[in-house]
Amino acid sequence: MELHQIRYFLALCAELNFTRAADRCDVAQSSLTRAIKLLETELGGALFHRGRANTHLTSLGERVKPFLARAHGEVQDACREAQDFARARTASLRLGLMRTLAPARSAALVAALRARRPDIDLQVTEAGAEALQERLLAGELDAAIYDLPGLGADVALDRLPLYREPFVAVVHAGHRLARHGAVRLSDLHGEPFLARVHCEHADVIDAARSGVDAPPAFRSDRDEWVLALAAAGLGYALMPAENVHPGTVALALADPAIAREIALVTLRGGKSPAVGALVHEAMRLCHRAAPVPDVAADAGLLVEAR
């Protein structure tokens, strides 16, 4: 399978028309047709249904397209990276971190990158997930670490999953369920709820609580307040496992299991060498880090607060 065949294939996916795809690639239509035909022989089936006015992907075409687009993007990134190095451009990197992240992991990544690539001028800021995404798309950030429900569908963004963080129920040490390890949300029915209004998953949590509970007893956009009130026995909260502080007890949430998928997000295509270095570093760290246990799989395990 050759690079030019993949380029033609992706052009045809975009244009769904042999003439326009050939124009786009600046080749004769016969060359493009032949290349696609050869690709189909290699893959052992048709990639496109050919219609007079309606060329579209077959299921085999749909099957292989996402990977070929990624692989092709890698090649382009590599070419661009080589050119950037040739020009010896000063590497700068603007990284955004989601406000609700527990800082330890992100700090480890930043420290590792700084140690390995001291030449990169690294600027780190924190903000809410939606603001980070807007700034990425506006070109004001080169990369950001966050999760936003529905993020996976955004075609303009590349998303390298870093880790999965479950939500836990936070109660005080003397709570009747504090020794239970895992709870169902319904076990907490009727108890005062401490709402984290800044949470990117607030809608998911509201939906899980709907019909179960009364309105929140307290609302805050600061986890310190929510944790302090939980520790004082004024209610329970639902929050990402790594945000829990000592003085409270984190109970695995078995039903419904809620989790956030923290990812390193960058603009698709055109990655600078500095972003490339960050991606490589993140891959290395996230593959090495012990995965956060899946709450549903570990139900029954007491997750003591750190």
């Binding site: 050759e2 993949i6 893959l43 692989a71 570093e281 891959m283």
Partner: protein, 233 residues
């Protein structure tokens, strides 16, 4: 000779224990596969026949052409470039299918055995495979491979050489059966693999010798690698 191995892992151990050329050990493992899992042997034969039909042998960069540059992370995430390898002498670049591939394992372990001689001849050796660092790191340690294994993220480099292929749904199913999870190993769900290949690159960046194995159950003999490097001295 004790009784014939009855599982694929046993067959691999048995093949490796033979005091024979790499080619003979690869053939021994292949014969055992045909006996133990004829379904896999048959699917592989069909795959190789399909790929062979396309353009037998002429694929990939040729002798006398420059090997395209790469800059890929090793198991520690350090980027290793072809340019940096060529700084001190020729480079032997091995394109491998993955840490799970028994043929690659036989090959890489036999390259490990001649690594000292490769270094004495002033050359560097790297293996490039699509697996992520989690797997290459453990693999290099478990097999005591004294050379870097670079992760070809999303097979971008293998694609730039024109050396990737789709394994097809039949082999994908058989791999699932054998516990081979390319999606987990590579971090993508494409089910694509690189061809097994060897490129020996002179300090001028040009390919001095190559072997691209559409028939991936055959590999370049380590002795042939050394012979080329000696000729380059």
């Amino acid at each position: 000779m004790s009784k014939a191995p009855s599982t694929l892992p046993e067959a691999l151990v048995e093949a490796e224990s033979r005091n024979a050329s790499l080619g003979a050990r690869l053939a021994a493992y292949r014969d055992s596969t045909l006996r133990i899992r004829p379904d896999i042997a048959k699917a592989y034969d069909e795959l190789v026949a399909r790929l062979d039909m396309l353009d037998g042998g002429a694929i990939g960069p040729q002798i006398g052409e420059p090997l395209p540059a790469f800059n890929l992370p090793d198991a520690d995430g350090r980027l290793v470039s072809l340019k940096s390898l060529l700084r001190s002498g020729p480079a032997v670049v091995s394109l491998n299918r993955g840490h799970w591939c028994p043929y690659c394992k036989l090959e890489l372990r036999s390259l490990a055995a001649i690594h000292g001689e490769i270094r004495q001849l002033g050359a560097q050796l790297v293996s490039i495979m699509p697996d992520t660092a989690t797997f290459t790191d453990d693999y290099a340690k478990a097999n005591r491979l004294p050379f870097p294994i670079l992760s070809d993220i999303d097979l971008g480099y293998a694609l730039s050489l024109g050396l990737i292929f789709w394994v097809g749904s039949e082999i994908e199913r058989l791999y699932g059966d054998l516990g081979i999870a390319l999606e987990r190993d590579q971090g993508n769900s494409g089910c694509f693999l690189p061809m097994g290949a060897k490129f020996i690159v002179g300090q001028d960046g040009l390919i001095k010798a190559r072997q691209v194995n559409i028939e991936f159950r055959e590999r370049m003999e380590p002795e042939a690698v050394l012979a080329v490097l000696r000729a380059l001295r």
